[in-house]
Amino acid sequence: MLDAILGGLQGLVAGFAHLHWSNPIMIAVGCTLLYLGIKKGFEPLLLVPIGFGAILVNIPLAGLMDKEGFLRIIYEAGVLTEIFPLLIFVGIGAMTDFGPLLENPKIFLLGAAGQFGIFLTLALALALGFSKLDAVSIGVIGACDGPTAIYVASQYAPHLLGAVSVAAYSYMSLVPVFQPPIMRLLTTKEERMIDMGIVKKSVSKTTKILFPLIVTVIGGLIAPKGLPLLGTIMLGNLMKECGVVSRLTKASENEIANIVTLL
């Protein structure tokens, strides 16, 4: 009987006994992300689930990421299959108004700014000795686009998926921390008080409806491998602009986007 009681008591401390030195560090990282998200309000939709997830998976013997753990099931169903990034993009397309872009099509070229970030990060990753496919997956972080980073990493470097996801979303979440001081440094108070005025809406509804179709076809023909992401964001936008599927639009920008963000 004493053995049974001792065995039972051992079970109560087994979690502590199996702690690796990395577990408390990652739990602290998770707590930090939670603090930034809850107390400071930095991208809470991202940091709260990520922070809590980091805590959950670093508690030993819980098995959440084991073969039949619930996080593993969600991971294999949505992340490894690349479905989650695509569903998020449908929601993003449904939430986005491309009117100001269509008002001044030259702004399209500013989209290249994100690509600069990707290729700079790619070059750094190659210089640090990562393999080509690993560097490609790491490079996408430079565009500050979480779903795309997850999508590319799951295709080309699945072993880096966790690190890329955390790096990408942490980086995005820290933008509100780093950008304001830089903006204040590079502008004067008078410049920041300039009233830019309201952009005159001079884009027809037909243009707004044809835009996602044209982008899908042209972009898909030039870069077919990118069509899943491009097509889903344009699908969301088409649903929004056509105005005849408002239920689907509302579901995309609310329920679907929120559920996938959480998962």
Binding site: L101, L102, P105, K106, I107, F108, L109, G111, A112, Q115, F116, I118, F119, L122, A123, L126, K132, A135, V136, K201, S202, V203, S204, K205, T206, T207, L210, F211, I214, V215, I218, G219, I222, A223
Partner: protein
């Protein structure tokens, strides 16, 4: 085709950035054409 990291990086930058800028430019042209063929009408407001 096996290439070293340096060649790979340069190729990616040239083809990637060049392709991106070209694609964005083509799209901006298309949008300009669309705006010309389907101008905004005040009654749409």
């Amino acid at each position: 085709m096996e290439m070293d990291n340096w060649t790979f990086g340069i190729t990616m930058v040239v083809v990637g950035m060049g392709g991106t800028l070209l694609t964005l430019w083509i799209l901006s042209l298309f949008m300009g054409i669309l705006k010309r063929f389907f101008p905004y009408k005040e009654e749409e407001k």
